[in-house]
Symmetry: C2
Subunit: 135 residues, 2 copies
Amino acid sequence: MTSTEGPRTMRPTRQRTAVVEAMTSFGDFRSAQDIHDLLGRGSTPVGLATVYRTLNALVESGEVDMLRTEDGEAIYRRCSAAHHHHLVCRSCGATVEVEGPAVERWTQAIADEHGFADVSHTLEIFGTCSSCRVR
Amino acid sequence: MTSTEGPRTMRPTRQRTAVVEAMTSFGDFRSAQDIHDLLGRGSTPVGLATVYRTLNALVESGEVDMLRTEDGEAIYRRCSAAHHHHLVCRSCGATVEVEGPAVERWTQAIADEHGFADVSHTLEIFGTCSSCRVR
DNA sequence: TTTCATGCAAATTGTTTGCAAATCG
DNA sequence: CGATTTGCAAACAATTTGCATGAAA
């Protein structure tokens, strides 16, 4: 079970830095492939496998948050970014970021109540925005 | 955009029934592959592709709930009528159904506030259940 | 120089699709 | 019969892994 052992240290390489900076530059969730593409276009191309390895390491070390999109793709976000949710228009895709202290508290409470620790959650709201209703 | 059109009716075939019954027999989340294996052992083998197609259809029609496990696998469960959310253990996968009138109201309010109509939402809570913490 | 990280390409895994044969209405 | 569904295998997409090479310590 100790087969998956890895080094305890993480070398500050050029590509590792590039990934971290990319993650820092945009605060929201992106897929590994997005990040790879982004870096590829820039002046610091990084191999896709490396992007994956780096992101996994960052998740492991708690510096990055990972969650799954509806179709199973992993998306990552720098952890420190303020936690918020999205209100998405089904029709045009417009997105509004919303915060919900109440929801945060509620989920925490529910989890406590059932003896769950180390709580996190995902919440997305879908609807039809006013512009799309009019036309 | 109408390319993915399908028939509006769903024929009650032997395999479709088998899948639905399997879903009914156990109340918790199972992967498509689990269901396929299960049926394969029994007297009513159903092709894996068919299991997937059937499950997708059921999710589409709202008879089945689908969510993603930490590693991106889709898991399905027959869904009870009432709208509810899930509290899922990251480690062992145990799930608790929770209701959240407050959340329902909150999402509605947020949507209204931004001029969105026809609102729906998804919310999943993740954590580590007490049994898994103990060990 | 020794160890860890990178890149590439090949290997895996979960899921979807094309198409001929079986089945339902 | 005619339209839909099934099964199988091939196609796919996201992610991981093996291995030789390059860069830190």
